[in-house]
């Protein structure tokens, strides 16, 4: 009896992603029936009232803030992880690990509050005047910065784990041949940990891509395809979160939002599967 229960629990668990995929596809199907996939993904026309659903501006904003977050957080995380695992005293790392762990658990809405209190005024009062323009502060840049900060504990944690798996003997061999610490890091740590480092970054990107509330609070939520990071944007998760209230009143609108969710699900699942597989393979060798 307990045996069946145990088996059943596992099956339910493994069925969740399949069910999510089917469920979202089923809800998005009415839209997919009369719109081609290419049209949905690459058209910039978003007029739900007229039945035109082009997701390009949303996809563009999502990719934009994610890349921005990536550029801002990656060098910081990489060097911080190198410092904590290779250069600093063990004591600092022992202190930092639980701190990073706890910070990774801080809810995204709190990061959003911080973004509104600090980053939005920073963008509107300091960064925009510096470049000779004006900005309300609710911008792609603010979204990118908040995302970057959110990803730091997450990526850092994985990087530290990766660096810990590198055998001490290898480092010692490098140092005994007369390499400086940095040369050892460059030639041994980075090279040996390369798959792990790439995976940590990849999983960080996936997390940033799907993050909702914190970005929604600072990104401005305006339809826009612009190069300037000081203009507002409208990422995919924000679209879903903002419009659930009215989605029943406009035909096909609910299908469109479910399609957005399906898109997020598929993209993030693929990124996750790819990099997890990467880690998985390297762990076994």
């Amino acid at each position: 009896m307990v045996n069946i229960w145990m088996r059943g629990g596992l099956y339910i668990l493994l069925a969740i992603p399949v069910l999510i995929g089917i469920g979202l596809y089923w809800k998005a199907a009415p839209l997919l029936r009369h719109e081609s996939l290419a049209n949905l993904l690459f058209s910039g026309k978003w007029f739900p009232m007229k039945g035109e659903f082009g997701f390009l501006p949303f996809i563009y904003s999502s990719v934009y803030v994610t890349l921005l977050a990536f550029i801002l957080s990656v060098p910081l995380c990489l060097f911080a992880a190198i410092y904590l695992t290779q250069f600093s005293k063990q004591r600092l790392l022992n202190f930092m690990l639980p701190v990073i762990d706890i910070l990774a658990g801080i809810p995204s809405v709190v990061y959003g509050v911080w973004g509104i209190l600090v980053i939005v005024p920073l963008v509107s009062d300091k960064i925009a005047p510096f470049f000779g323009t004006t900005s309300s502060g609710y911008s792609l840049l603010a979204g990118g910065i908040v995302l970057a900060v959110m990803c730091i504990p997450y990526i850092l944690n994985m990087l530290i784990e990766v660096f810990h798996t590198i055998p001490v003997g290898m480092k010692e061999a490098s140092l005994s041949l007369g390499a400086t610490h940095w040369e050892m890091v460059k030639h041994v740590i980075i090279r040996k940990g390369f798959p792990g480092i790439i995976s940590a970054f990849g999983l960080g990107i996936a997390k940033a891509f799907g993050e909702t509330i914190a970005v929604l609070m600072v990104v401005g939520n305006t339809l826009n395809i612009t190069l300037s990071p000081l203009k507002p944007g409208y990422p995919l998760p924000a679209l879903i979160a903002n419009n659930y209230g009215e989605m029943m009143s406009i035909p096909d609108y609910d299908s469109a939002l479910m399609f957005a969710a399906l898109l997020l699900f598929v993209v993030i699942l693929i990124i996750n599967l790819f990099f997890r597989y990467f880690i998985h393979k390297t762990e076994q060798v």
Binding site: L76, I82, V109, M258, L273
Partner: protein, 284 residues
């Protein structure tokens, strides 16, 4: 040549030093700003009373509805997650102990599931809700959050279970116990510390998550008394109050953010404490 080597060493040591400390400073700064802004607005009234009439226009009252609502929701979801996840984690480590490949494939899928954003769970939960004919309610919220936290719970518990030596299981079998008995009486007991950590991790994640309950839990000024009533949650309460143009309401959002952060900090610190405490009792 040699001099360049030393200069390079110094440059990169300084860069990584700066990177490490700026990470610390940024994260501390975040907490300080949130606390600094919120503590001033914090009062007993906010923590212990329900919103009164005109609350969202600056009227009196507090966010007890959201605090209690979040606890109800997360507690329900955690119970549901344990109901599905605990047997699943034990199954992976007892029945599948000889099938390393299967074990690894399952872990791989669960890890990938961990990365799915909560808004997708929210949208899926909404679709399920429509299918079952439910309204935005405590029950729908519990189901959605449970879907979100079950993979987390299982993987966290599993990480501890997989470190338990096989010999311990073998000893149990040699004394004539069945696999189920071994799972419940040996593995579960031995991994209890890990179970507590996993439980609190999942619970904390459930309390803090906003995007998954946005569609499914609804929002209300009252504390729900039945499963089919809508429920307010703390993250959404912060989110809604912050979008208000009235300064006083925004102040209370900052206070609510402090309350949420403190709850999460208490949960993560006690998870560490309890896990240390219970791991003393397990056989090394």
């Amino acid at each position: 040549m040699n001099r360049w080597k030393i200069i390079e060493e110094w440059i990169f040591k300084i860069i990584s030093f700066i990177a490490a400390y700026s990470v610390v400073i940024i994260l501390l700064y975040l907490l300080i700003v949130v606390f600094n802004k919120g503590v001033g607005a914090l009062s007993w009234e906010i923590v212990f009373s329900l919103p009164e009439g005109g609350y969202y226009f600056g009227g009196g009252g507090g966010i007890l509805n959201a605090i209690v609502g979040s606890f109800y929701l997360s507690l329900g979801a955690t119970v549901l997650a344990v109901f599905i996840g605990l047997p699943a984690a034990l199954f992976i480590n007892v029945q599948l102990i000889r099938l390393k490949r299967t074990q690894n494939t399952i872990r791989f899928f669960l890890d990938a599931l961990w990365g799915i954003p909560s808004i997708v769970y929210g949208a899926f939960g909404f679709a399920v809700m429509l299918l079952l004919g439910l309204n935005a309610s405590l029950l729908a919220g519990i189901i959605t959050v449970a879907l979100l936290i079950t993979p987390i719970l299982v993987r966290a518990f599993d990480e501890v279970l997989k470190t338990i030596p096989v010999e311990l299981q073998e000893a149990s079998y040699s004394l004539g116990s069945t696999r189920t008995e071994t799972a419940l009486k040996v593995l579960f007991k031995q991994g209890f510390a890990g179970f507590i950590t996993a439980l609190l991790l999942a619970f904390g994640r459930g309390i803090g998550d906003a995007a998954s309950v946005l569609f499914t839990a609804g929002f209300t000024d009252n504390i729900p008394v039945a499963l089919d009533e809508p429920v307010a949650t703390l993250p959404l309460s912060i989110f809604f109050q912050l979008s208000s143009p009235i300064e006083e309401v925004r102040q209370r959002a900052y206070a609510a953010a402090v309350i949420l952060t403190v709850i999460i900090l208490i949960i993560s610190v006690s998870a560490r404490f309890l896990s240390k405490r219970y791991s003393k009792n397990s056989i090394k």
